[in-house]
């Protein structure tokens, strides 16, 4: 016979009870003559400190029987195994769960990051155009709409990538009146160039930048990033919380950096074929590197999406051939038209 404390689940009052273990369960009695029996299948163990054993009853919320720790031997065999890690883990055991889980996780993450690189080129451009069109639209008032400037901008793209702005998979290029020095490839074969990248650079350097963005579009890097972001990226951010999201960012960045480097080498090839000097592009990156005041530490590059500008400058500079007879990317008139692409003519009052 074991002496214990019973809480009945309807009030907090502790009842002193005597507990006997019989074949199929527990029999509880009180000196007042009250008695009750509970089948072993209805009992569950509840986590408690070292000094006591705590039992609950499956169908009676709050029913708790607290017994001294030395009653454990008598209850042996009556109670099922204690839940430890959660039922689904307990069922297969901790070690197998770790191994199976580890392999599964590693393969999901591996496939999730590598697959977009292989999938992206097979996604029809028309699908991407639909998504891109929905997101991007026509840029409204932000877009610089000077027709001569637009023609010059397209001519510049055609100069580095002949035929790129024509045909069903045409690249659509737009200048935006946004005061940031940047250019970007967007989903759906869009390339946008912000105003300072046009007005504050040499046309040859802008040709280098555009060649880089054309390479992103042609290599389907934007598609790849979209697929990765909506696949594994979303999954990790959902379940792994902040730490997972940070780890995810670092892994994605390593892909981004590879793609940036690839776009740079493509751009160098394009400039070469178009007979445009890579020197202005190199000088631009050099200038940007100095402006950012970056050191030569490895750490800086590791956490940046774009390769260090000084490193990029060197690559472009190295491709310069002193014997070549380079020609300017655009003629004088077209360069001027491009420079004024964001200049709005005053609206005539009628």
């Amino acid at each position: 016979m074991i002496r214990g404390t019973l809480y009945d689940g309807s009030s907090a009052f502790p009842h002193d009870v005597c507990v006997d273990v019989d074949g199929s369960g527990l029999r509880l009695t009180q000196e007042s003559g009250w008695s009750d029996s509970v089948d072993a299948s209805q009992l569950k163990r509840i986590e408690s400190g070292a000094g006591a054993i705590r039992l609950g009853q499956l169908n009676v919320p709050g029913w708790r029987l607290v017994l001294p720790a030395d009653a454990a031997s008598k209850l042996e065999g009556l109670l099922g195994r204690k839940e430890r890690y959660g039922r689904w883990i307990d069922r297969i055991g901790l070690l197998p769960a770790l191994v199976v889980g580890g392999v599964l996780t590693a393969s999901i993450v591996g496939v999730g990051y590598v697959a977009p690189h292989w999938i992206a080129p097979h996604i029809p451009m028309s699908w991407e155009r639909n998504v891109g069109g929905a997101i991007v639209g026509d840029f409204g008032d932000l877009r610089c709409r000077d027709p001569n400037g637009q023609r010059a901008l397209e001519a510049l793209v055609d100069r580095v990538a002949p035929g790129a702005t024509r045909g069903p998979d045409a690249i659509r290029v737009a200048a935006l009146d946004v005061p940031v020095f940047n250019a970007a490839a967007l989903p759906g074969g869009y390339i946008v160039v912000f105003k300072p990248a046009i007005t504050e650079t040499d046309t040859d350097a802008l040709a280098g930048i555009l060649a880089h963005e054309v390479a992103h579009v042609r290599r389907r890097h934007v598609t790849e990033a979209l697929v990765r972001e909506f696949g594994i990226g979303a999954l990790i951010r959902l379940f792994a919380g902040n730490i997972g999201a940070n780890a995810e960012q670092i892994v994605s960045l390593s892909y981004t950096r590879d793609n940036e480097a690839q776009a740079d080498s493509d751009a160098i090839q394009m400039l070469k074929r178009a007979n445009i000097s890579p020197k202005p592009t190199a000088e631009l990156f050099d200038h940007l590197a100095k402006e950012q005041g970056e050191g030569s530490s490895f750490g800086a590059e590791f956490l940046q999406s774009h390769p260090l500008s000084s490193g990029r400058a060197k690559k472009f500079a190295a491709s310069f051939d002193p014997r070549a007879h380079y020609s300017p990317a655009l003629g004088r008139d077209q360069s001027d038209a491009l420079f004024n692409i964001c200049w709005k003519r005053p609206v005539k009052q009628s």
Binding site: R64, I89, D138
Partner: protein
């Protein structure tokens, strides 16, 4: 039958934490491993295991607490909230850039404004429901807590008070925080007993003002030093010494440190007063952690994480709970025969909302 709390004249406190870190180590280690190996999905079960341990090692008068929440229900709760929030977020994720790209900046900022309003409201709801969930899964003597209020109105109150606080550059925040504490706790109960909360901003305003005044005062000192330095530089025609520049930078760093420190200083007072303003039946509460003790908790946790190369993260919940229980005081008596079972409905979405917005319950 009355169970005495604060153990009358004895030195034993009514509520005690009896766990220790060595006993918790196997839980911490296996939780960390399983979380990593399941792409984070195990974290719901991990937090249920952690709480089962912490609650069972918390002794109140003559019996330990008990946590009955499960990993499965927290996982399902998270999925329920996800089903609501993912379409909501995706909608804004596409709508906002689409409007910007079409040059409709007014519409885009309007949408963004509505988005933040919705987020504020839901954060309030999340906070309320997390507290309600935790009480509904916390048992003592076979009795649990809970609330019959779904928290939708609290979300509105939270939004309103915080918008007011933002509009006054947070100056009225002590009033907002104290009123919200009262609204939240007055809706909660344990067994058939309802919590009562009468917190006022009295005694909290000074410390709140310090958050503004201390950095401003330090800025004034820096200004004066600059002025004096400039005078000297002019008088002697010399260059500013590197020591002087370092001194000024150090002062600016101190100002940056002063703001979080002053905020901590306020929260220390807030939780002391907030606990003191709370009662449940004849039970009264107290909390005695000082700013210095909070600071030691924060720095200790950071140090632990650094020294253990991140493994210490698995002890954050343990340390916080132990800290709370060690500083919590409960006085008065509780009539256990009269403390009857709660009739509140327990929420099904567990902590899904709080989890989605990463907010705590208290």
């Amino acid at each position: 039958m009355d169970a005495p709390t604060a153990a009358a004249a004895e030195h034993r406190r009514a509520i005690q934490f009896t766990g220790n870190w060595r006993e918790y180590l196997p839980i911490a280690a296996t939780n960390a491993l399983l979380i990593v190996c399941t792409l984070g999905i195990y974290r719901f079960w991990a937090s249920a295991r952690q709480r089962r341990y912490l609650w069972s090692r918390t002794h109140f008068i003559d019996d330990c607490l008990e946590w009955t929440g499960t990993g499965k229900e927290m996982f399902l709760g998270f999925l329920i909230v996800l089903a609501v929030l993912v379409p909501f977020f995706l909608f804004f994720q596409f709508l906002f850039p689409a409007l910007v790209a079409r040059g409709k900046l007014d519409a885009a900022s309007g949408i963004l404004f509505l988005f933040y309003i919705a987020i504020f409201y839901l954060v309030g709801v999340a906070r309320f429901r997390a507290l309600r969930y935790r009480l509904s899964r916390s048992w003592w003597h076979g009795i649990r807590g809970g609330s019959n209020d779904p928290g939708w109105n609290y979300g509105g109150e939270y939004l309103g008070r915080l918008v007011l606080a933002v509009m006054t550059i947070w100056i009225v925040y002590p009033w907002a925080a104290t009123r919200l504490w009262n609204s939240r706790w007055r809706a909660m109960s344990f067994g058939q007993l309802e919590f009562r909360a009468n917190l006022t901003a009295e005694g909290l305003k000074g410390r709140w003002a310090m958050i503004y005044l201390v950095p401003l005062g330090m800025l004034a000192v820096v200004g004066m030093i600059f002025a004096i330095g400039a005078t000297f530089a002019v008088t002697y025609g010399g260059d500013k010494s590197p020591g002087f520049a370092a001194f000024v930078i150090a002062l600016f760093l101190l100002i940056y440190l002063a703001i979080p420190l002053m905020t901590l200083n306020w929260y220390a007072a807030f939780y002391r007063k907030a606990a003191g303003a709370l009662t449940l039946g004849d039970l009264e509460f107290g909390f005695d952690a000082t700013t210095w003790e909070w600071l030691k908790l924060v720095l200790g946790t950071l140090g632990l994480i650094v020294v253990t190369l991140g493994f210490g993260l698995t002890y954050v919940g343990y340390r916080n709970w132990a800290f709370m229980v060690r500083h919590l005081q409960i006085y008065g008596t509780i009539d256990v025969a009269a403390l009857a079972q709660s009739t509140t409905r327990a929420p099904v979405e567990a902590e899904g909302w709080a989890d989605a917005f990463d907010v705590g319950a208290i």
